[in-house]
């Protein structure tokens, strides 16, 4: 089953399970969703529960907040994460603040689903990974699954959660396949728990969303040189499962944090600070991080490839870290 289908199954099950759940977004009905995640749901549940909106992100994210305050469970789709910025006031200044500034008397059980990511020459305004902006904000939760199984289990948890959750998908992940449990109302994955996607002893690579798959490919390459990389899939950025990362780094003594977005002020920066304190005596080298080139995404294919966090870039960073730690034969590039 693809990542896209896993999301659709989660939406379908939750729509079926709970009358309070409804979907809202641009082109999610007759058009079936810009990335076809909601295909078939408009026919099955009708226009009230799969509500098509005009291009008014601030308006319909706000409407989701208001509906959630009255007890509904809106799942709002923003076509891509790039467009969420026109609704930033609703997400950061409203959804994230409401429970706290109203003394806990009302909450916002709302999910915003949106894909980030890059790699299809969509250029500067359509190729961003902005999830860390939201992970910075108390009051929000930010989830970013990397596999169909995680997408299925985490989306159901997000919809059942009583707080606003930004659910970050990835354009390149939609066609990725994997197995998910048989349709099961009780299967969910808890928010705030990372997952060791591959065990290893020599190096920890921490990633989320599509970058997890790249990290796993790099781990395969490193294994051919005799190095066992452990890959930690964060799954959730807020809450952030620092415990699992720290446990892994204490075992491997080396850590590379990889992210598709820009590394400055990013997840690597956050984790490096926490790892630096928790693992100070365990580290063979300072935490290393790698992210997308710090430019607006260019169009020309050679430039775009140079800007992405491709396997080669990740592998070079991993080998350089291993070499810095005196591991013979690590080299700086592929064997």
């Amino acid at each position: 089953m693809t990542y896209r289908e896993a999301l659709r199954r989660a939406l379908d099950e939750e729509l079926d399970r709970d009358e309070r759940v409804f979907l809202m977004g641009e082109e999610i009905g007759r058009f079936e969703g810009s990335y076809k995640v909601t295909a078939g749901l408009w026919e099955k549940y009708g226009p009230k529960r799969v509500r098509e909106t005009p291009i008014s992100e601030e308006g319909f994210v706000g409407a989701g907040i208001g509906a959630a305050m009255l007890g509904l469970r809106p799942v709002v789709e923003i076509m891509t994460i790039n467009f969420i910025m026109v609704a930033q006031d609703m997400v950061v200044n409203h959804a994230a603040k409401i429970r706290y500034m109203f003394g806990g008397k009302v909450g916002v059980p709302m999910v915003i689903r949106t894909p980030g990511g890059a790699g299809a020459q969509l250029t500067a305004q359509h190729s961003q990974s902005l999830e860390v902006w939201f992970a910075h904000v108390p009051g929000l939760k930010v989830v970013a699954p990397s596999s169909p199984r995680d997408a299925y289990g985490l989306l159901k948890s997000a919809i059942r959660d009583d707080d606003p959750v930004l659910f970050v998908e990835n354009l390149v992940l939609y066609n990725v396949t994997g197995t998910i449990p048989e349709p099961d109302e009780d299967f969910t994955l808890p928010l705030g728990r990372a997952h060791v996607a591959r065990e290893g002893t020599d190096l920890t690579i921490v990633a989320h969303s599509y970058t997890v798959r790249r990290a796993l490919a790099v781990a395969d390459r490193l294994a051919q040189s005799g190095f066992q990389a452990e890959v930690v899939d964060l799954r959730s950025l807020r809450p952030l499962d620092v415990d699992t990362v720290v446990e892994s780094v204490r075992k491997t003594s080396r850590v590379l944090i990889a992210e598709e977005g820009w590394a400055t002020f990013g997840i690597g920066a956050e984790l490096a600070a926490r790892i630096g304190r928790a693992c100070f005596d365990d580290l063979d080298a300072p935490p290393e991080r790698v992210g997308g080139a710090e430019v607006p995404m260019p169009y020309a294919k050679p430039l775009e490839l140079a800007a992405l966090v491709l396997e080669d870039k990740l592998e070079a960073a991993a080998r350089s870290l291993l070499a810095e730690c005196g591991l013979a034969g690590a080299g700086a590039g592929r064997d």
Binding site: G62, A63, L70, H94, Y100, V242, V246
Partner: protein, 358 residues
């Protein structure tokens, strides 16, 4: 339900109701005057936006709300809280930052609410609550619930993108909501003429093929009649509307603004001749519904009530630092979701570094 609209014109036939309206306006006026004074005594911090002069526009429409309806307003929200019936002591306590406040002291002047009375805030970003109010109307529509939403905001909000998106969504979806612009002629220090290409704000409704109208916002009966009629239409026909109520704030934008550099003293004085309370008193006296003695007694009772609210608020405890992290999240699992995040957390969040709070 058609009776709802009829009753709106008929307040003068119901003495008790008419006096209740007056009393609310007098209460708002007195509450705001005392809040201003308490601010200068540093018992109230932050921003404090007073509604002195705007009582009729606030109270007249809120009086039309029934038990199934919902209310959203801007940060100039003390009048709304009092008009829905929140206790003046709890409202004052919120201004004082006390745990007996309507938002337990977490929101302050701008973020009043009363969930039981369907008053859902008290919002601090100009125009930001309009889409949220639309969402409340959407929820009513979704649930086939009988109520409507009243959303009050200032003239400044009509120039935001949120205003446009909210009215458009309400119109295309046919939602039960009345948008009430309380046009006090200035957004902070910028006049409506200067800020709005169409200064007759009710005409903006045309862009959404929505009903729009303007009434004298200092005439509480006119406000009540229009709001009652439009709310009834929203409930019965799921038709949104834009109601413009023209009024004037005697004070500055907030207590930090003297309100003098962008308007003349003559202009402010000219509005005192149209004072909403003075005018309504005259109407009531004309109809033999109120004599001077009863008015004096009402003013005294209201003064005592606000004085008592201040005493209660001053005596109430403030929330303690150990409650700092309460209600950031509300899901029953939030602690277990976050319990793996604490490891080597930055300064200020670790249990050890938090110990100075105790």
């Amino acid at each position: 339900m058609a009776k709802t609209a009829d009753r709106a014109r008929d307040v003068l036939g119901d003495r008790e109701h008419a006096l209740r309206l007056l009393r609310l306006m007098v209460l708002v006026r007195r509450f705001e005057e005392r809040a201003e004074e308490q601010y200068t005594r540093a018992r109230i911090g932050g921003y404090c936006h007073l509604a002195i002069g705007e009582e009729a526009a606030n109270v007249g429409s809120i009086d039309c709300l029934g038990a199934d309806d919902y209310l959203f307003v801007s940060y100039r929200d003390h009048a709304a809280a009092l008009a829905v019936g929140s206790s003046p002591a709890a409202v004052m306590a919120e201004l004082f930052g006390k745990e007996t406040g309507v938002a337990r002291g977490y929101g302050g002047s701008m973020h009043l609410l009363d969930v039981d009375r369907h008053f859902l805030g008290g919002w601090g970003i100009v125009g930001g609550h309009l889409p949220i109010a639309v969402g409340a109307a959407l929820a009513l529509d979704y649930q086939d619930a009988p109520g409507a939403v009243l959303c009050q905001f200032g003239d400044g909000a009509t120039n935001t993108g949120a205003f446009h998106e909210a009215l458009n969504l309400a119109a295309i979806w046919g939602l039960p909501i009345v948008f009430q612009v309380i046009n006090n002629l200035y957004g902070m220090g910028t006049s409506v003429d200067q800020a709005s290409a169409e200064p007759e704000l009710h005409k903006r409704a045309c862009a959404y093929r929505m009903h729009g109208e303007r009434v004298d916002g200092n005439d509480v009966l006119a406000v009540r009649e229009a709001a009652g009629r439009l709310l009834a239409r929203a409930r019965e026909e799921s038709e949104p509307a834009l109601l413009e109520t023209t009024t004037y704030r005697y004070r500055g934008h907030s207590v930090a603004d003297a309100g003098k550099v962008y308007r003349t003293a003559d202009e402010v004085d000219s509005w005192r001749d149209r004072d909403p309370i003075t005018r309504f008193v005259a109407v009531l006296q004309e109809h033999d519904l109120l004599d001077d003695e009863a008015l004096d007694e009402m003013r005294k009772q209201v003064s005592d009530e606000v004085g008592e609210a201040i005493r209660e608020a001053a005596a109430a405890p403030a929330p303690g630092p150990d409650e700092l992290y309460d209600n950031v999240y509300g899901d029953e699992h939030w602690r277990e979701q976050f319990d793996a995040m604490d490891t080597a957390a930055p300064f200020g969040e670790r249990e050890e570094t938090r110990s100075w709070l105790r």
